[in-house]
Amino acid sequence: MNSKVIYEKSKGLSDFHLSYCPGCTHGIIHKLVAETLVDLDLLERTVGISSVGCSALNYDFFSCDMQQAAHGRAPAVATGIKRVRPDNIVFTYQGDGDLASIGIAEAIHAAHRGENITIVFVNNAIYGMTGGQMAPTTLLGQKTTTSQDGRDAASQGLPLRVSEMMAQIPGATYIERVSVHDPKHVNKAKKALKKAFDIQNKKLGFSMIEFISTCPVNWGINPKDSVDWAVDNMIPYYPLGVYKDKTVGEK
């Protein structure tokens, strides 16, 4: 009997079973990163940096060389690698606790130096791994284990818009915010990743793609409704789009 392969797992992913919860979009984002590296034929010379958070174990999931970084330090680790291996492709994969809180300095300064790396930034408005604490990106009124009455602007500040902030940094080349809540947006997100890795491959400088993501378990919302919650609550505060693209001139 003849069989025809109509879909297979990307060669950019290993045989490991992804450990993420149902309804979490880390899996889709992993797949997009892996497919992009394969499509652009970059996989064999790529080093990925896993960070601290739910994605910490993804050094097992991607099939390229991987290095695990301390909490928030992935852009510094990526800098260290890229400066001694400038022809490699180097990306970090960081959540919003990792990048927007403890690692904000490393992220800003990697962009500021125009490091020729790509940051895959996954924003689900909460700390997932450590048990649902408030993140800088947690929305106003959102309940977390450290904002049990809902985030309050007076004592906990307003949610941080990372892409908007990074776009202000003169050294950054490409900043885009995407979402993976439906197939149309998944395709758009993949295009954004392709653009970012292509920029890196052409040595045009720093790129960051922010993904609006979900955390059904810590949000306490079922997987299907979580997608709706992200669309209804996150995207209005974190609008999708290209925030900076130096390759077409500054806006």
């Binding site: 301390a70 680790v77 260290g80 001694v84 490699n88």
Partner: protein, 356 residues
């Protein structure tokens, strides 16, 4: 090559270039600034990487990245900056990566001062970061020795796949001395870095650089493996110098700049007819306990002299195994003991005026 006159910080920088250091990442702090300044100029001309990072924390994590990619990499700082680097240092040790870290020590605690100190002894020899790990720590006393040891330290780091710390005080960083930067140093038997996550999958299967072991048994096994390295360092790689020890009635235990001062002190004492020797640790981890087993029977007292409140003293007590009375002379805050002070302390000890 003939000798040149160099400032300690510059000489250390040049030694790194001579050792094939591929990358330097660091952040400004007194009294080591001439080192990154020198490298900012000269690494580029040698086609090497230099980044002035946004912080000490970032610098050491850049070191971790480059070391993971198989490069020879170095950072330098001074005491409070080294404290900041501890996060990255324990990751480097945990992931078994080679790196060279220079610590030009200044007075503490806190912001302390900018003058020379040896008060990082515990920070250097007792980890500093979290977990059971050790650095191979070298404490030279002259610029020539510093240059030679920095060149060799890249070999040692590669051999053990472990960070090596060069522990000097601010005086070594700031002093001028003639050095031969091209002197041959010991080459270690090194294997290719087939473990590196260097983004070169054509040559090797996937490599992962990691210090995370969520299974307790895996983590215990990893710790046992690490411990074997430190045991090998202790058994086979202690370094020390015994100076003027024949018929010595007292041994001054001192390292780095203080050993240098002790050399003048024993000359002063010789003029007064007192025979004093020096035990000079060159490695402070592993601590050279073997040196204390080699002391002649003429030695009746030990004097530990250091620029701290008695941090190395604890290691001397362990190495001495209660055999000899131990006296202590320490200056801190950036005050460097004068040779006359150390000599006077010896005179007091011999005259029964000093208590253990």
């Amino acid at each position: 090559m003939s000798k040149v006159l160099m400032k300690g910080n510059e000489a250390m920088a040049l030694a790194a270039i001579k050792a094939g250091c591929d990358a330097f990442y660091g952040y400004p702090i007194t009294p080591q600034n001439e080192l990154p300044e020198y490298l900012s100029k000269h690494m580029r001309t040698h086609g090497r990487a230099f980044v002035q990072s946004e912080s000490e924390v970032a610098a050491i994590n850049m070191v971790y990245g480059a070391a993971g990619a198989g490069a020879r990499v170095m950072t330098s700082s001074s005491s409070p900056g080294i404290a900041l680097k501890q996060e990255g240092i324990t990751y480097i040790a945990g992931a078994e990566l080679p790196a060279v870290i220079i610590n030009v020590m200044r007075g503490g605690p806190g912001l302390g001062g900018i003058q020379p100190s040896q008060a990082d002894y515990n920070q250097i020899t007792r980890g500093g970061g979290n977990g059971d790990y050790s650095l191979y720590a070298l404490a030279p006393e002259s610029l020539q020795e510093t240059v030679d040891l920095i060149k060799e330290s890249f070999e040692i780091a590669d051999y053990f796949r472990n960070p090596v710390m060069i522990a000097v005080d601010g005086l070594i960083g700031q002093m001028m001395e003639p050095v031969d930067v091209d002197r041959e140093v010991k080459k270690w038997d090194l294997k290719p870095k087939t473990w590196a996550a260097d983004g070169n999958r054509k040559d090797h299967p996937k490599n992962i650089i990691n210090s995370l072991y969520l299974d307790p048994q895996d983590l215990e096994n990893h710790n046992i493996k690490l411990q074997k390295k430190y045991t090998e360092m202790k058994e086979n790689h202690q370094r020390y110098e015994l100076i003027n020890m024949e018929n010595a009635e007292i041994a001054i235990v001192a390292y780095g700049s203080v050993a240098r001062i002790a050399r003048t002190a024993i000359e002063i004492l010789a003029e007064k007819g007192i025979k004093a020797g020096i035990v000079r640790p060159i490695t402070i981890f592993p601590f050279p306990e073997k040196a204390f087993k080699e002391l002649p029977s003429s030695v009746e007292n030990l004097l530990v002299a250091e620029m701290s409140m008695g941090q190395m003293l604890q290691d001397v007590k362990l190495a001495n195994e209660c055999r000899l009375p131990i006296h202590f002379y320490g200056r801190v805050g950036g005050i460097v003991p004068e040779a006359e002070e150390i000599a006077q302390k010896v005179i007091d000890i011999i005259g029964g005026q000093s208590h253990e």
